[in-house]
Amino acid sequence: FEVDRLITQADLDELEERLILSDLGVETTFALLEPIKRDLSLGKNITSKELKNRLREGLLNLLVDPTRPFPPQGNPATLFFVGVNGVGKTTTIAKLAKNFKDGGYKVLMVAGDTFRAGAIEQLQRWGERVGVPVYAQKEGADPASVIYQGVDKAIKEGFELVLIDTAGRLHTKYNLMEELKKMARVIEKFIPQEGYENILVLDANTGQNAISQAESFFKAIPIHSVILTKMDGTAKGGVAFAISHKFKLPIRFIGLGEKPEDLLPFDKESFVKAILP
């Protein structure tokens, strides 16, 4: 694809392989390549430069831009992190907390995962490490009540940004999704719509199941944006295209490692560039 020449069916096959290997999925890959395949079969001449541009445009169009400011305009601005087990919610919260603390915000983290062994300690250790206070109760406490007390504290003590951690949960588990709805309702009681953002955290290593995750979480509570973690690995995170397009979800940040500074604002162009040959 480096030298500008006319492309062949073999080039398209090679491209199909590349896109599937990047986890774009069958549906998205076919949707992108179908019009080009059709043109080729009609005898049209397409140069590799043209192909690359058409792909780049097609991919960029799938990624929706945010329509709300970040952080949201709340008092306090409230970020609610949800997602399946092990994707990087707790670590991402610590990264964002450090970021905003350095930006002069008064930040509070709320240990809403009262279920998993060591979850509260994990967030508390992060709190010490990045210099941000953590509101927590004991393991086993009702998570909705922890959120209630945490947001209440944030309002009373003039915190400007609250980051709420939740336990990882498979989207197929009815009781856990009901629990999540209850937690989200607590936030809604305190904060108006424009003041909170519900963020779905997705692991870039995830395959097509990410679509099912997004769909189920979105059915349970309004989801406003996505954070894509572990982009420092070898996975390309291609399933993000289908998710952004299908559910109209902007990707706010990508996680690039395990340290507090390993979080970058999402850049459409470089994300697409990493997928293309």
Binding site: V26, L170, G207
Partner: protein, 291 residues
């Protein structure tokens, strides 16, 4: 499922009864899509289907009165064959046996260590738990809490200790206390992280574990192959544990990992509780991958 998909794709052929080779090839294309949608690796789908094609283009399908059922049956059988016909146990020939869990960040290693300890104790063993994860905040606390919950002895360590020192002391302590298995939790790491992969190689050479188990997330996509292959080539794996399989992930990563590394899948993680560990049986996973 796949049979319905094939019937739908071949609606016009219903009256033809038997299939010709071209029809079978079209059917295989449907199977290919189903496998890709199940997250089986692109290249693995190719090699897998080339094996299926040999049987599919034989009289087994071409002479059948129910060709679609026959085609699906062949794919299913080939899946079961590839995934590993019978469950393989753990090699526990050591005094103590050392079982080391490795894998990417967040795959479920720490939880699975506790599950394995619980499982082995139920089978009459005397396991001990230890962790060399000195990196993740409260990782040692997490394993300690789990160990206390299930009443399995835990080798205490601190994040300021060195992984190899912790591991060697844990083995020594397990021996002294008459524990017959030491289950060792390691930190999550990228297969492309040279320093951390070297750490695993060093741990393995110093401990000579009976088992090195790759803990892999069932919802992994195409990179499952690359990841597993790298862990296997660098460290050497004796088994795979696939976690979070009780969700709706199709689990195609399992086929990819097995096909490319040949390493047996030994257990499935089927929940967050300590009892949620199952011995691997290929049939159920084969059905899910088929969809």
């Amino acid at each position: 499922g796949l049979t319905e998909k094939l019937e739908k794709a071949f609606q016009g052929l219903k009256d033809k009864g038997k299939l010709g080779p071209d029809d079978v090839k079209r059917g295989l294309r449907e199977v290919r899509l189903a496998l890709l949608e199940a997250d089986v690796n692109y290249k693995v789908v190719k090699s897998f289907l080339s094996r299926v094609e040999v049987r599919a283009l034989s009289s087994e399908v071409l002479e059948s009165l129910t060709p679609f059922q026959q085609l699906v049956k062949i794919v299913y059988e080939e899946l079961v064959e590839t995934l590993g016909k019978k469950a393989e146990g753990l090699n526990l020939n050591g005094k103590p046996a050392v079982v080391m869990l490795v894998g990417l960040q967040g795959s479920g290693k720490t939880t699975t260590c506790a599950k394995l300890a619980y499982y082995l104790r139920k089978k009459g063993h005397n396991p001990m738990l230890a962790s060399v994860d000195v990196y993740r905040p409260a990782a040692l606390d997490q394993l300690q809490t789990l160990a206390e919950k299930i009443n399995v002895p835990y080798f205490p360590a601190s994040p300021s200790d060195k992984p190899v020192d912790i591991a060697l002391s844990a083995v020594k302590t397990a021996k002294e206390k008459g524990r017959d298995v030491l289950i060792l939790d390691t930190a999550g790491r990228l297969h492309i992280d040279e320093a951390l992969m070297n750490e695993l190689v060093e741990l393995k050479s110093r401990l000579n574990p009976q088992e090195v188990l790759l803990v892999a997330d069932a919802m992994m996509g195409q990179e499952a192959v690359n990841m597993a292959q790298t862990f296997h080539e660098r460290v050497g794996l004796t088994g795979v544990i696939l976690t979070k399989i009780e969700g709706d992930a199709r689990g195609g990563a399992a086929l990819s990992i097995r096909e490319v590394t040949g390493v047996p899948i030994k257990f499935l993680g089927v929940g967050e509780k300590v009892e949620a560990l199952e011995v691997f049986h290929p049939e159920r996973l084969a059905s899910r991958i088929l969809g």
